[in-house]
């Protein structure tokens, strides 16, 4: 199967994977092994905003269509609408209770079936989602689709007829990677500054196509995804280990620095 749109310096069709997540900027509380949902709100995962922005910049340069895809319950539609308001052309919402409890692999399996319904040149995902902090879905999907993968992209340097050059933050420095399209990139937050949706964008979003799908529509066996198909399960959540209350020193710099150094030497014994 060929899943490459006809991009030869012409249109570039991009699929962006987005997730609607609990707002981790808020005060997240844990009770009885799970997160207290009361009073929590949900937002578009930050790194996915970077992925959307990158897609829109590419669209401006090359034309083509940007499709945002999300898997999640009813409320996830909000993030899709935000994506449409930012300038994405089309939304796809996989809304099926059987997807609940998926791990990254479960989502990757569903996405693999979803993205191959239409031709694409590029898939963009977040480096990790803000609720799981796993960073699994993007690389897994690339592997399932057998397309080139560049993870943790900080710059998209060039795109020509069949190739794209991306810079990724690697271990030894910035890696300059050239991939043949179609390919999958995961976005680091340093990639760009996501635009805000304009009022006009918000109005326009109302008339943009939004497709709602179930696992049956995608011919996915529910036993292979969701909690049923998951290789990992979150059995419990705990608050992080509290750090012992520290000491704060205020006053004349000479005095407090000396005092702290004394403690580092004698109390914390950091110099052996």
């Amino acid at each position: 199967m060929r899943h490459r749109a006809d991009f030869s310096g012409g249109e570039l069709n991009v699929i962006v994977l987005i997730k609607h997540v609990i707002d981790v900027e808020l005060n997240v509380r844990v009770r009885d092994g799970s997160v207290v949902q009361d009073g929590m709100t949900y937002v578009l995962s930050k790194w996915d905003e970077n992925a959307i922005e990158a897609a829109l910049v590419l669209k401006d340069a090359h034309d083509g269509e940007v499709t945002a895809v999300t898997i999640g319950p009813e409320r996830s539609g909000e993030s899709l609408r935000k994506a449409l308001a930012m300038g994405v052309d089309k939304g796809v919402h996989i809304n099926d209770p059987a997807t609940e409890g998926s791990d990254s692999m479960g989502y990757a399996r569903i996405l693999a079936k979803t993205v191959t319904r239409q031709p694409y040149d590029l898939i963009l995902a977040g480096r990790q989602s803000q609720d799981t902090d796993q960073g699994g879905t993007g690389p897994m999907l690339a592997e399932l689709l057998n397309i080139p993968l560049v993870g943790n992209v900080v710059e998209i340097a060039a795109v020509d007829g069949t190739k794209l050059t991306a810079h990724r933050n690697g271990d030894a420095g910035k890696e300059v990677v050239e991939v043949t399209l179609p390919a999958l990139l995961t976005a680091n937050d340093s990639l760009n500054e996501p635009r805000l949706a304009s009022l006009r964008g918000i109005m326009a979003a109302k008339n943009k196509p939004m497709e709602i799908l179930t696992l049956a529509d995608l011919e996915i066996d529910p036993a292979t995804v969701g909690a049923a198909g998951a290789g990992t399960e979150v059995v419990e959540m705990q608050p992080p280990r509290a750090r012992a209350a520290g000491q704060k020193f205020e006053g004349a710099p000479e005095e407090i620095t000396k005092e702290v150094m004394g403690l580092l030497v004698n109390e914390a014994k950091i110099f052996g």
């Binding site: 981790v24 979150v234 520290g246 150094m261 950091i270």
Partner: protein
């Protein structure tokens, strides 16, 4: 029976400390470990790995592996896992692990956890502690018993036990299959100092409070006096004052050194998620309400341009 393949990380011709942490812990726990090492001129490191308990060392030593490449590295690791018939693969936390580990899980139809700070085995059942939601919760993630389990373990999670090198049982892997659809053209080497953040027992990180490139150099003598690695916040890295791979935090390096100095760092959740596991935290900030003070063991409220020179003097005194 638990059998683990450890994916070895190399820097400047040496096995990196996080790899030795994993091998040390596996040996102490009484599990069997093999190791896989991919790179150029890495074969000589096999004896060191054997000394730390690696039963078989799978080696992919090829000039085509001098630069990081997903297909080449993934191919080597997958082949080693197949040959070793392991049921677990342990990666240490690094940018290459972050892409290789999930891709490996997908290729081998395994299960995956991308960042573990604790590992528990009960019979065949593996459960790991995984910080999520910017480290506002710790999830207990349990793996299903069947199939391959792939995990990335944060550096600093375990201690390195000393060990002498010994002759290794080496299995050489075939030259990596090249995939010209993805080619690393070059690595723009960047480094703020000699010591890698993941290997360091002391880290000094600077934030926007240092004001500019001169501020970076102003703090550097403290880094040198402490024999520390030099890190930064995203604000500093995005301003171009420090190289990208010095960024500490959720989207940079996640570190847990013995001692962490945060100088002119406000303490945003994304930064703290990358360093709150440090054993001892010392913060210097002129704002008494800076969030960093909520996790600092020792907080110095003051102007870093006054405090840092004083610290340097004191450290030099102690060290001499």
């Amino acid at each position: 029976m638990v059998k683990i393949v450890v994916v070895v990380e190399v820097k400047a011709g040496e096995v990196r400390k996080p790899t030795l942490e994993l091998l040390s812990h596996i040996r102490k726990s009484g599990f069997e470990a093999d190791a896989v090492i991919a790179g150029e001129n890495v074969k000589g490191l096999a004896d060191r790995l054997a000394g730390h308990g690696a039963g078989t060392v799978y080696v992919a030593d090829d000039s085509s592996l001098s630069l990081f490449s997903v297909p080449a590295y993934l191919g080597a690791i997958a082949e080693a896992v197949e040959k070793s018939q392991a049921n677990q693969v342990w990666f240490s936390g690094s940018e290459s692990s972050k892409v290789l580990a999930p891709a490996l899980a997908a290729r081998m139809d395994g299960a995956y956890c991308g960042d573990a700070i604790g590992v528990e085995m009960e019979g065949e059942t593996l459960t790991v502690d995984h910080p999520a939601m910017a480290t506002k919760v710790i999830q207990k993630v349990r793996f299903r018993n069947e199939g391959l389990k792939v995990l990335v373990i944060r550096s600093g999670t375990f201690d390195v036990e000393p060990a002498e090198p010994k002759p290794a049982h080496v299995v050489e892997l075939a030259a990596p299959a090249l995939d010209d659809r993805v080619v690393t053209k070059e690595v723009i080497q960047e480094s703020a100092g000699e010591i890698d953040l993941g290997d360091a027992s002391t880290i000094v990180s600077v934030g926007r409070g240092v004001k500019g490139p001169e501020g970076i150099e102003f703090v550097r003598p403290l880094v040198d006096a402490l024999g520390a690695a030099y890190g930064a916040t995203r604000a500093v890295v995005d301003s171009g004052w420090m190289p990208h791979n010095t960024q500490v935090g959720q989207t940079g390096r996640v570190v847990a050194p013995d001692v962490y100095f945060a100088i002119g760092v406000s303490g945003a959740i994304q930064h703290m998620a990358g360093m709150s596991g440090s054993k001892l935290i010392i913060a210097v900030n002129k704002d008494p309400d800076a969030p960093i003070f909520s996790i600092a063991d020792y907080g110095i409220v003051g102007d870093l341009f006054k405090v840092v020179p004083l610290l340097i003097d004191e450290v030099k005194k102690v060290k001499s």
